[in-house]
Amino acid sequence: MNIAKAYQALLRLYPRDHRNLFSSEMLRIFERACEERSSRGRPPYVTFVLREFCGLALGAFAEWAGELSTDPSRRAHRLPGLHACAEAPSEITDAQRRIDFCISRMEQAIATHDFQGARFYSNEDLKARERLRQLRAKYGIAE
């Protein structure tokens, strides 16, 4: 088994949504870094590979911990790649939750006189509403 295949196998430890979004990017970077490190001699290369593999295992553990302890809509709301494999109704639920999240953050920002933050979440709220409108139009769901 070559080193890239071993890396790919370890990527399977990650939750599916993380894999869908980042695994090809992570693999490309790993391969590029391998090319660079292998030219520096064997000990630095072996150290690099071991660090990468340990980092992957720890990263996968952290992602599963996050996956199991966080509201899935919050984890997914800003990661467009996740929507490609999602069912239509859950896309709409996510968009609705995103609006709720923005409103809640906007209210918090106003309460702490953080007007720059409030403006930011207000703009995000407008974008989320537009997204919800488009999704409803796409799936023919009345408002």
Binding site: L21, I29, E52, L79
Partner: protein
Amino acid sequence: MERHDAEESRPLSEPVLLILMSLADRPRHGYALIKDIEALSNGRVRLATGTLYGALRRLLEELWIERFEQDDTSREKQAYHLTGEGRRQLQLEVDRMRQLTRAASARLRTSEV
């Protein structure tokens, strides 16, 4: 409200701080981020891909960075840039660190007298 204040004042982890610093001047893709962070930290920090992408995911969720497709011929297409909120959080962290170093310097001066 209190929770929001606590979140705002919580120090950023080193990988997160370095990623925000790296994206402050221009967008970068993953490999460029790793190389730039290594340079920013004088070779002290070399993020593993697992650490980098865990931090990137959290930053995307917090809306501090955004992901986009780069129109160039490089091997990596997906790049990341700092949002207005990300820049604001970086500024908050820089202010916090400045205040701390000022206080530490003052204490050191006092102890020298």
